[in-house]
């Protein structure tokens, strides 16, 4: 018998709540100061230059934007794919999607050369630019997800729940494909100009979004002593493992394709073997920390059942995700552009990769603080949201969560076929 799901505000002690809020607000404040500093001085105080034009802020921003669309997955699985066990998580999923997107967009905007001209970006469009499309994809996403949350929370919205959910699902797929295409459609640089980057970003978003979702859910529940039952934990950790494996698969195909084409040999040998920090970030960050380690934890017969280990796996996926973004965004810019195939540049007045050397970039502290500020914005919105509105289910214990079709089939698995 399915029990009615009860949602409750996040009722941790006020001192604790305001403490968390204070920490987040301080991080946001420091991020704001960093923005003011970079804006006042100009970008020379950052590590960015004319070769690596997008730096660490973009790493954080793109990570948050795709994690935002990925965080909505849980809601989609419940509503669109009709898996009742995910339904209690739908509200938090929607809230996180909006909050993370807000954080990511704020970083993007504050890293502009002329942030005060944001009004120009809102009033003057060039529709052949994927950036211009993204402005609509991002704002549309927020509007749709807010409507989606309303259909979940308000009785009157009930009938619209599935249609809005379906729209949100397609919208988020378009959004992440659009984000990947910012890079995928750049013919100039060797690491980009690959259509697979669009779908690859979608699968990366699944993994990053779910990892963030899991950590937020576990933290919020642990703080207040709410229960996450083994049944739902197993579903979520299996899903995370699947997404991580999928992300690894897409990365494998991307690099295999590059290796197959002789003209990309140099880039691949640089990235996979001789790229210094980028090679390290790829193998240790993306593959080991972000891929193999979490998979090992999640599929481990004992550790996979332990809440703390699952949380650790989710944290590793996030660290790996930031590494992947670092490689995809910065590594791809640092590798010299193939201006003169078959020739070596001996001298250049503009750092054109003399002797095939990569461009230099080292992130500055204000860039890091700006990125962390964006993360804090996302978390602050989430914290306030769950505190004042009924986003979190009261319990996710096994006897409370809705029955899933999986349990119906358990008898069938009891006997070998």
């Amino acid at each position: 018998m399915m029990k009615r799901i009860v949602y409750r505000e996040w009722r941790i002690p006020p001192a604790r709540f305001w403490g968390i809020l204070g920490i987040l607000a301080s991080v946001i404040g420091i991020g704001t100061l960093s923005f003011g500093y970079m804006e006042h001085q100009g970008h020379w105080v950052t590590g960015m230059n004319n070769a690596v034009v997008w730096g660490l802020p973009h790493v954080f921003a793109v990570f948050l934007v795709i994690a935002a669309s990925g965080a909505l997955n849980i809601a989609s699985i419940g509503t669109v794919f009709r898996k009742p066990i995910y339904k209690p998580l739908g509200r938090l999923s929607g809230l996180l999607a909006v909050a993370l997107l807000m954080g990511g967009l704020l970083i993007l905007v504050t890293d502009l050369g002329r942030p005060e001209r944001l009004i120009v970006a809102i009033t003057s469009y060039n529709f052949s630019s994927i950036f211009a499309w993204n402005i609509f994809l991002y704002t549309g996403f927020m509007a749709i997800v807010i409507a989606y949350l309303w259909t979940m929370a308000d009785r009157q919205g009930g009938p619209f729940n599935r249609p809005v959910g379906i729209l949100a699902l397609f919208w988020r797929l378009a959004l992440t494909t659009g984000t990947g295409s910012i890079f995928g459609f750049l013919v100039a640089r060797e690491a980009y100009s690959a259509a697979i980057l669009g779908p690859m970003f979608v699968i990366l978003s699944f993994a990053y979004g779910l990892a963030v979702f899991l950590l937020v859910l576990m933290f919020a529940f642990a703080e207040e002593g709410r229960v996450i039952g083994p049944k739902i934990l197993r579903r979520l950790k299996n899903l995370l493992a699947l997404f991580v494996a999928g992300a690894l698969y897409f990365m494998l195909i991307y690099h295999l394709t590059n290796l197959y084409a002789a003209k990309h040999d140099d880039f691949e040998s640089w990235l996979l073997l001789h790229g210094g920090i980028y090679t390290f970030a790829f193998w240790v960050g993306s593959i080991l920390i972000g891929g193999l380690l979490p998979l090992w934890i999640l599929y481990h017969p004992e550790k996979g059942k332990n809440c703390n280990w699952v949380a650790a796996a989710a944290a590793l996926v996030i660290v790996g995700g930031l590494s992947t973004m670092y490689v995809v965004i910065i590594g791809s810019q640092a590798y010299p552009m193939p201006l003169f195939p078959g020739q070596t540049i001996l001298e250049s007045g503009f750092g054109d990769g003399v002797g095939g050397r990569a461009a230099s970039y080292w992130p500055s502290i204000p860039e890091l603080l700006l990125g962390l500020g964006g993360v804090a914005v996302g978390l602050l919105i989430t914290a306030v949201g769950v505190r004042v509105l009924q986003f979190l289910p009261e319990s996710l214990a096994d006897d409370v969560v809705p029955v899933d079709e999986e349990t119906l089939g358990e008898a069938a698995f009891a006997k070998p076929a």
Binding site: H43, M48, N50, G113, R114, A121, S129, T344, G349, A359
Partner: protein
């Protein structure tokens, strides 16, 4: 309600009216010549740019001398890039990567044959410019006469055009600027690149600063002109010499062509 003041209105002061009228007339007659003169002066720039021409450069790398930087110096002077100053705390090596460069010399060696080539690189003024495609606000644009440039009022400094440009032709202004040229307004936080000395085009001048400087050195490696006019020196040169576009594989139909690469 009745307006009681209606009948108490003062009679119109005719003299005052005449005075104001006269003053307006005198004022107008003093300002008008300035306005008209200004309009006359602005005439060449008021006519819209025509697609009957397509400006471009032909570069004969055989004539480009090693160690010569005349084109770069001339470009820097023409566009006020020589006025850039390194922010004090910044290291020289980092400044080299951050300062604006519109034209640069590149020295190449063929991997197979060892042949050395020198050439100047700048914005290639593509017919299908990737920078224009990706610009979200339309700040990066192509004029009817083929010049690709940035509208500094629309540029928000997102740097997507720099990601998209296959020639690394664009620079972002990383620092605050002082003492600029009125003909080439620049500003912190915007992107810029070679615009084929666009203000010279608008005043109907013959050539670009780099081409003039190269000719003055006696090298004549850079020829500027109208690619659409079959009689222009540049068209004649392109007819006579085998030339190619850099990154021909991208089929951008560049306005800058190179011989001997």
């Amino acid at each position: 309600m009745k307006d009681e003041n209606r009948t108490n209105l003062e009679p119109v002061d005719r003299e005052r009216r005449t005075f104001i009228g006269a003053a307006a007339g005198v004022g107008a007659s003093m300002v008008a010549p300035g306005v008209i003169l200004h309009a006359v002066e602005a005439a060449p720039r008021a006519t819209s740019v025509s697609s009957d021409v397509r400006w471009g450069l032909a570069i004969d790398t055989a004539k480009c001398a090693e160690g010569c930087s005349a084109c770069i110096d001339a470009c820097d002077r023409e566009n006020g890039l020589d006025l850039q100053t390194k922010p004090k705390p910044l290291s020289e090596s980092k400044w080299d990567q951050q300062k604006a460069v519109w034209i640069r010399k590149v020295k190449l060696q063929d991997n197979q044959t060892g042949r050395i080539t020198n050439l100047p690189m700048m914005c290639q003024h593509c017919e299908d410019p990737p920078c224009v495609d990706v610009c979200p606000t339309g700040a990066s644009f192509k004029r009817a006469d083929g010049i690709v440039m940035v509208d500094r009022h629309l540029c928000i400094g997102c740097r997507y055009c720099m990601m998209a440009c296959p020639y690394k032709a664009r620079s972002f202004i990383h620092e605050a600027l002082e003492g600029q040229l009125t003909s080439v307004p620049r500003g912190k936080g915007c992107v810029e690149s070679c615009n084929l000395c666009v203000d010279r085009r608008d005043y109907g001048e013959e050539s670009t600063a780099c081409a003039d400087a190269c000719a003055a050195e006696g090298h004549n490696a850079i020829v500027f002109g109208d690619l659409k006019d079959p009689e222009s020196p540049i068209s004649q040169l392109l007819k006579a010499l085998p030339t190619r576009q850099i990154r021909e594989d991208l089929e951008l139909n560049t306005g800058v062509r190179y011989a001997g690469v």
